[in-house]
């Protein structure tokens, strides 16, 4: 008779149950890894099949062992837990892989020259040899300017739309129509946005016009729905109590929105705007169509083609040369870095502006 059986008999209330030992999970995982590694070495697999087999083994073995010792309910619990962890690994693996690959390929490309030059060939004044530009600064400036332009267009439009939807349009047919249109806008293919900007400007400036601001307009079409949606959600979260408190102090509605509703929700709104920026900063198709591609630095949004990072990556990749690949990966790393910085900034700003509880 084991000790567990003894305890069960001495108590009239059967609160005890046999449990797997605490080290069961690491033990099963460790065993699965070892078994998969041995199998892999024997059959000559790469490490990816080994990892998959190890995960599958864990998913099967742990619930089975649990079924034998702990009973059905605990086994189901273990199975679902294992499946959820598997799903998490499946979701995160590509992300980790992408980051590692980009870092590994991109870091060699990033140096002082890369960050301070554009792609214009230069003549060395001493040796009279031509030197390739092999720099990204024109694309970096272009991306920042075009995205800034898109933000300047989208934030006021999006914010005012959501103010209307939350504060004024509640339940009115026109508000429902706007919500529907915003939803439709979310689904616009990005290249269509680029074509729209192209068509719009060709009406005023003639066919073949390329300007940075056209890219801004194309991107703002993609940004506005995200801004509207997130700002709307955030403003709906502001309790009606606060609005009433403000009205009861004799504050007009517009000042209540400006001074109470927006400050209370500003943290979430800023986060939403930053996420919208991250979403459009990597868009390639509309920028290729509307802004084009160029090797010199152009910082004027209202005159001529501009280079942007996604388009830079694409054109460099298309050269199919080692130097081109290196530049493309460098640009990709830079783009990911910008998005990460923006996301971190959004979190910090959101924290700063979030309502304080004082605890």
């Amino acid at each position: 008779m084991t000790t567990a059986d003894v305890t069960m008999q001495t108590h009239s209330l059967p609160l005890h149950r046999l449990r797997l030992p605490q080290y069961a999970v690491p033990m099963v995982m460790g065993t699965a890894v070892v078994v998969a590694a041995l199998l892999g070495l024997l059959l000559g697999w790469g490490w990816v099949p080994m990892a998959i087999v190890a995960i599958l083994l864990t998913d099967v073995a742990l619930p089975l062992w649990s079924r034998l010792v702990e009973g059905r309910r605990a086994a189901v619990d273990r199975l679902v837990t294992a499946l959820i962890w598997t799903a998490l690994v499946c979701a995160l693996a590509p992300l980790a892989w992408l980051l590692i690959k980009t870092l590994a390929s991109g870091i060699p490309a990033i140096n002082g020259h890369f960050l301070t030059h554009n792609m214009v060939q230069q003549l060395d004044p001493v040796t009279f040899k031509t030197m390739p530009g092999s720099g990204v600064v024109h694309a970096l400036l272009g991306t920042l300017l075009v995205t800034l332009g898109a933000t300047i267009i989208s934030v006021p439009v999006g914010l005012m739309t959501s103010v209307y939807l939350v504060e004024y349009g509640r339940g009115r047919p026109i508000a429902r129509v706007i919500t529907l249109l915003v939803d439709v806008m979310t689904g616009i293919p990005s290249i269509v946005a680029g074509l729209f900007a192209l068509a719009l400007f060709s009406v005023f400036f003639g066919v073949g016009t390329r300007m940075g601001v056209m890219g801004s307009i194309a991107l703002s079409l993609l940004m506005i729905p995200t801004v509207v949606r997130s700002a709307e959600e955030m403003m709906r979260l502001v309790p009606g109590d606060l609005r009433e408190a403000s009205y009861a102090l004799g504050v007009p509605k517009w000042r209540t929105i400006l001074k109470v509703v927006l400050p209370t929700s500003i943290g979430g709104i800023i986060t939403g705007v930053m996420l919208a920026i991250s979403r459009v900063i990597g868009e390639t198709a509309p920028l290729l169509v509307a802004v084009g591609s160029i090797d010199v630095t152009n910082t004027n949004l209202f005159s001529g083609r501009m280079q942007t990072l996604p388009v830079f990556i694409m054109t460099e990749y298309q050269t199919s040369t080692p130097a081109g690949y290196r530049l493309a990966w460098g640009g990709a790393l830079l783009l990911i870095a910008i998005v990460m910085v923006l996301n971190l900034a959004a979190r910090i700003i959101g924290k700063i502006f979030a309502p304080k509880t004082g605890h």
């Binding site: 509640r170 339940g171 309790p239 109590d241 606060l242 609005r243 009433e244 408190a245 403000s246 009205y247 009861a248 102090l249 004799g250 504050v251 007009p252 000042r255 209540t256 001074k259 109470v260 400050p263 209370t264 309502p355 304080k356 509880t357 004082g358 605890h359």
Partner: protein
């Protein structure tokens, strides 16, 4: 300063639903008027119609007359924002502005209306209002801290301070003590007694003892049946109301034999 309110034949609607019917009463200046009655009988709705907060809810409207200082509140030429500046309100749940410090919460009525205040003037208003709301001694050392960090009772007194900082003529209180413990309730009742000397106060309460303790006049609201509009059953000096009510159902409600 303090004004009286004359209500004549007031009907209040939410869309097509008639919530309150045929209320006529005179709320005396510089006195405390309490409204009692079962839940859903329209006390709060009626209170909110006294400073046009009622119409903040979509579809809500009012028929009848509310006269303050010889002006009809529901006249088309009346600016509801101006009305609410004169007739302040304290809500059931304390609702300090979460983005603001204690100091800024008290000044919210002034600041949100973009009134320019000198530093000394602002300090004076904050101290006067917080003293008026019996909160000064508890918070004077942490005026810069967020208002949400206070306890429930302190938050409610902060809301009262915020309401009296704009020096309204009338103060409407919608069950101001329902979320508070007995000690905070006592503090707020003391405060109501003090405020009576300079403001007209109207208070909705579910607590009969509270109505008896703080008010000079009491109005009893009731429903004829579920789904029917609420109406004013009896409006009398509190003493009469609690010792010798005119109406049988008032007596039944006050003595606990409801219905």
């Amino acid at each position: 300063m303090a004004k009286s309110i004359d209500v004549t034949d007031l009907d209040i609607y939410y869309g097509d639903f008639k919530a309150v019917e045929g209320v006529t009463m005179t709320i005396k200046a510089k006195s405390v008027t309490a409204f009692i009655g079962p839940s859903g009988c329209g006390k709060s709705t009626f209170l909110r119609s006294l400073n046009r907060m009622h119409e903040v809810i979509p579809g809500a409207r009012v028929e009848g007359k509310v006269m303050v200082d010889g002006q009809s509140l529901y006249d088309p030429s009346i600016d509801p924002v101006e009305v609410r500046r004169r007739i302040g309100m304290v809500f059931q749940r304390p609702n300090p502005f979460p983005t603001m410090s204690i100091y800024d919460n008290v000044l919210a009525g002034n600041r949100l209306n973009a009134r320019r205040l000198g530093r000394a003037e602002a300090d004076a208003i904050v101290e006067k209002s917080l003293r008026g709301a019996n909160l000064w001694n508890e918070v004077k050392d942490r005026l810069g801290k967020p208002g949400m960090g206070l306890s429930g009772g302190q938050q409610q007194r902060l809301c009262i301070a915020r309401a009296i900082a704009v020096e309204p003529e009338v103060l409407l209180m919608d069950e101001p003590c329902s979320a508070l413990d007995p000690i905070s309730t006592a503090a707020i009742e003391d405060l109501i007694h003090e405020l009576k000397s300079s403001y007209t106060i109207v208070i909705v309460t579910h607590n009969m003892q509270q109505a008896a303790r703080v008010s000079d006049d009491t109005g009893f609201f009731n429903l004829k049946a579920a789904g029917q509009p609420g109406h004013l059953v009896e409006f009398n000096p509190t003493k009469t109301m609690f010792t010798n009510p005119e109406n049988e159902s008032t007596e039944a409600y006050i003595s606990g034999r409801f219905g």
